[in-house]
């Protein structure tokens, strides 16, 4: 085995992959939530539709989006490999375990939370991403040209209270996943320092509350505006 394959077949090498893909996906979330804030703009969706076209046609964004797909798939595959090793490491469970006294629930259930978030991502991609790429989307014309009216698709989707509830619940679970994952990624990279770790933990906690809340506010806002 070469040193590269040896590294990535070791637990620490795989943990490194988890941390790096996780941190990249955190960066992705910042971009995704900022762009989607255009949904709140009161212009009938023009800015959002223009943004959606830019995001699906710009070559630099293409590269980033492929990195995002790779990160999601990599994060999932490596977590499955690590989880199966972890399961094998304790073949017989304790009859009595007071794990709640030494660790948080979400830190012990990152796999469960991650699985639900992954299912959400698949549903979410089917709802909008697949529609934007291959669906029959109505067209809309502005001064700057003709655009796919993704805004209308979003409005239609979020007039369904069931889907809105699914999105909101998924964002809460994503928040729990990030609440542990954000700081945990830095610890795995070995970035534990008296000066910076408290700040990383604070930013991680704030991030995991604010960003999912911003995401969740979108379907709620659109659902409420369709009621009028």
């Amino acid at each position: 085995m070469s040193w590269v394959t040896k590294t990535f077949s070791s637990t620490l090498g795989r943990k490194l992959l988890m941390a790096l893909t996780g941190l990249f996906l955190i960066l992705f979330l910042i971009g995704h939530v900022s762009g989607n804030m255009l949904l709140f703009k009161d212009d009938g969706g023009q800015a959002f539709n223009e943004y959606a076209k830019f995001m699906t046609t710009n070559p630099a964004v293409k590269i980033l989006s492929y990195l995002t797909y790779i990160s999601i798939i990599g994060h999932v595959i490596v977590s499955i490999i690590l989880s199966s090793k972890n399961k094998k490491a304790r073949p017989v469970n304790y009859a009595d375990s007071k794990a709640a006294t030494n660790s948080t629930w979400n830190s012990r259930n990152m796999g469960v939370l991650g699985t639900i978030v992954f299912i959400f991502i698949v549903v979410h991609l089917q709802n909008f991403w697949a529609q934007m790429h291959w669906g029959a989307i109505p067209m809309v014309t502005y001064e700057s040209g003709e655009f796919k009216d993704l805004y209308a698709v979003v409005n239609l989707a979020f007039s369904n209270i069931g889907l809105v509830a699914l999105y909101v619940v998924s964002m809460i679970l994503l928040g729990f996943h990030l609440y542990h994952g954000f700081a945990s990624a830095f610890q795995t990279l070995g970035l534990n320092h008296k000066k910076y770790t408290p700040a990383i933990k604070f930013i991680g906690s704030a991030f995991s509350i604010i960003v999912p809340a911003m995401f969740a506010s979108m379907p709620i806002f659109i659902y409420l505006s369709t009621l009028k």
Binding site: T7, L16, N86, Y94, A99, T101, S103, R108, M110, T188
Partner: protein, 249 residues
Amino acid sequence: MNLTLKVWRQKNSSDKGGFVNYSIADISEDMSFLEMLDVLNEELSEKGEDPVHFDHDCREGICGMCSLHINGKPHGPQQTTTCQLHMRSFKDGDTITIEPWRAAAFPVVKDLVVDRGSFDRIIQAGGYVSVNTGGVPDANEIPIPKKIADEAFDAATCIGCGACVAACKNASAMLFTSAKISQLAMLPQGKVERKERAEKMIAQMDEEGFGACTNTGACSIECPKGISLTNIARMNREYFSAIVSSENV
């Protein structure tokens, strides 16, 4: 006080094993947990039954030999070793569940005794200094800042009991391995072989079948010596810098 003990009994490593309940009376709250088990074993021996096997040695909290998962926690309800746990931590009428450490890398030998040889093999892989350090140098010859000496000493207080593995949901040995890697990487004599040590000890840790770290922090909280998670971060730094810069292709 009178207690009910729910004890894991297992004849040997291939036996399936199961819990057996024992009633025990007139236990003083000043007894240590192991003394209470001694009383139980005396009663069992007098009845001609096989006593409950458990590991112990110094009974001073420094050797790392005692183990036991007591009422859902390694070394029981206090952050100490089982030998330093006293019966005043329990109430009259309590049922106490006693299990062995549960990990594939710590196979049960008999009852509550597990084989922690996997820890020894991790140490054998690189947890030592093999360079010739010569005779005892003058104390001022190798200046080590107090803070570094303290941190290295804190890591060195690990007694290798395995509570970290027992507490971890993944039965990971990262706290143990990182304590030894940290202790040696911070001191001048240990620094010489730090890269090779990190690579070899971590390879051995994987080989033994321990799980990965999820950074839940359970290990550090249950550690009788309070070994800090900063050691795991340091081990990761040691490992990542070793794999990119060591001579091992």
